[in-house]
């Protein structure tokens, strides 16, 4: 039987993931169908009710992949409940009668290179380390480029004169990224699109609103999980800053955080996942005079619930408004929009009163 690999969705990172795995492994890669209501319904149906929302989304995504014939599933583990996703999902999916192999590349948030190589060899015995390293570097670059463009778009999309151009260019870029021939080709495409995107006219007033978005990684990054809250807010004319992305998670974490947290004397213990990072982001956003902070998490996300208290305190001390959103698989979209509108009204009134 031909091996067909699939993995759950998270934002648009399927492009680099597909590129990476399809070059290092002699297997077919199938990108799961885009997340829709059906995915979420499927995921919720077979998940425990009180599990965090990313579990439901990824499970739904996996079911759809398996329905389409995938027989190897890749999952990753993190430093919170995320670390147990693969075991539980493996069991749920096997109980549903699917025949497949689940491979967890990162266990409990620790990147053990030897272990990963062993696992990749399980999929393809001819896997070569040198080839793997080469494509890893290109993939890393690709993720960096994607995140750079996304950072720029978040900062400017609210002030775009002719709407929709930035997103269109970004989608075109992703499409070309998936068919690159090598590092230089990637760089060329990036430069081409970077130029185009920078040249799109934006009308940014000197005194504009700036909002920072922080929170649990999946709900922050996956726009289906947060009703595209980022662009919804940006479209009112707000500059959005978000630190959380895959390049931060995989490559840039820790250094900055540790330095900053030394100043925050109350924070002594790790609380799992990205809770400390979010405290650091909060501090940074407050220090840099942002007009507001939005904290997004999925329901039942324990590390973030713990960090919320600290975030609230930092914001109170610095007099920066903060709002907390908690998303579940069936949160009412209207409620989210009302709160977001009120938040925008609030920060706008504050800005005008300065």
């Amino acid at each position: 039987m031909k091996k067909l690999i699939s993995f759950p969705h998270m934002a648009d990172y399927y492009v680099p993931a597909k590129y990476f795995f399809s070059h290092i492994l002699d297997c077919d890669i199938m990108v799961a169908p885009p997340i829709t209501n059906k995915t979420i319904e499927l995921g919720s149906k077979y998940s425990p009710d009180f599990v965090c929302t990313p579990f439901k989304f990824t499970l739904g995504s996996l079911i759809e992949s398996l329905e389409m014939g995938a027989n190897i599933i890749l999952q990753y583990g993190g430093g919170c409940r995320y670390g147990y996703y693969y075991q539980l999902q493996d069991k749920i999916l096997k109980d549903l009668g699917y025949n497949f192999q689940m491979i967890n590349l990162v266990t409990a948030g620790k990147t053990d290179i030897k272990d990963i190589i062993k696992k990749l060899k399980m999929i393809d015995c001819k896997f070569s380390k040198i080839k793997g390293l080469y494509y890893l570097l290109i993939t890393k670059k690709m993720i960096e480029y994607m995140d750079n463009i996304d950072d720029y778009i978040r900062k400017n999309i609210g002030f775009e004169i002719k709407g929709g151009e930035l997103i269109k260019l970004r989608d075109q870029m992703l499409l070309e990224f998936s068919n690159i021939s090598g590092y230089f080709n990637l760089k060329k495409i990036y430069k081409k699109y970077y130029k185009k995107i920078i040249n799109i006219k934006v009308n940014k007033p000197s005194k504009h609103l700036k909002v920072g978005i922080i929170g649990e990684l999946y709900s922050v990054m996956e726009k289906c999980a947060n009703y595209n809250l980022e662009y919804e807010l940006a479209s009112k004319g707000v500059e959005i800053t978000r630190f959380m992305n895959v390049s931060y998670l995989l490559f840039k974490q820790n250094k900055k955080v540790k330095k900053y947290l030394k100043e925050l004397k109350n924070v002594k213990y790790k609380m799992g996942a990205n809770s400390l990072d979010n405290i650091y982001f909060t501090k940074w956003l407050c220090d840099n005079k942002y007009d507001g902070i939005i904290h997004i998490k999925s329901s039942f996300c324990t590390p973030e619930i713990t960090s919320m208290g600290v975030i609230n305190k930092i914001c109170k001390e610095n007099d920066v408004p903060v709002i907390f959103f908690s998303f579940d698989a069936n949160t009412s979209e209207v409620g989210v929009k009302t709160r977001l509108e009120a938040f925008y009204d609030m920060i706008e009134m504050r800005k005008n009163n300065e």
Binding site: T36, N37, K38, P321, G335, E341, A342, D345, M346, R350
Partner: protein, 314 residues
Amino acid sequence: MNECYLGIDIGSISTKGVVIDNNYNIITSLYIWTNGNPIGAVRNLVNELKKNIPSNYVVKGIGTTGSARKLIGLLLDANIVKNEITAHAIGTINYYPDVRTILEIGGQDSKIILINSGIISDYAMNTLCAAGTGAFLSSQAKRLNIDINDFSNMALMSNNPVKIAARCTVFAESDLIHKANSGYKLEDIVAGLCKSIVLNYLNNVGKGKKIEGPIVFQGGVSKNKGVVKYFKEVLGTDIIVDDNSHLMGAIGIAILSSKNKSDKIYNLNIKDIDFETKATSCMGCSNNCEILKVFKNKKLVDAWGNRCNKTIKL
């Protein structure tokens, strides 16, 4: 000709309309039940209000707020459509410029708004739970077979409110039944219910918020004297309940509408407007978005619920 502005707050239970002049004085106001039919309720409301506007006034602006704000905004061609949190804050600040905390309990939602020197500094709204809202109060009143208007007087008669689990409506209800069946007096139960609303509100919505005076309590539930009494008791300070506390959202949106006025004059003849909504399920992809199309005089004016523009062409 004098100018006036119409503000409408369409809530889950009741629809509130108010007409104000340039100095934000109320010319006329009306409070009616929504009865699950916001369009019908607004038609009635506007027709009634129109009769009471003196002939030397012209309507220069219409604002809508509340959960049906978008729909009614389209029907009336409103010049401003705003969320209820902002509207409530603006309305209250107009009457009480030094207010610090607004407690608001409506039919379906409850919110707390903190104000610092005339601007909103923080707010919260109930998210998942209906415990501590008017809907819970009215459903319990119905179950106990008490008219909602007698409810507050009955609560005031009691000196010994029963303790009711203040967390969840379902548990609160089973607790109520238990208390009734073990022989507690009706007024003690009613008083306990009012107190549980207060505790639920403070535990849910008011959690982590610094409640400072002057405190203004508004929304439909603020008309219930029992709830007001227990708010005072639990918070340990005096709270202000305005005579127009149920209209604050409508007043706020009318004020916002006056600030946003244009040259347009509204005639309020909505009787002749043909207004229709049609719900369809889009089959474009497996998202199956529920799309609501709004037709005004047989013309498609807006549609919402869609995540893309595949099947909708305006």
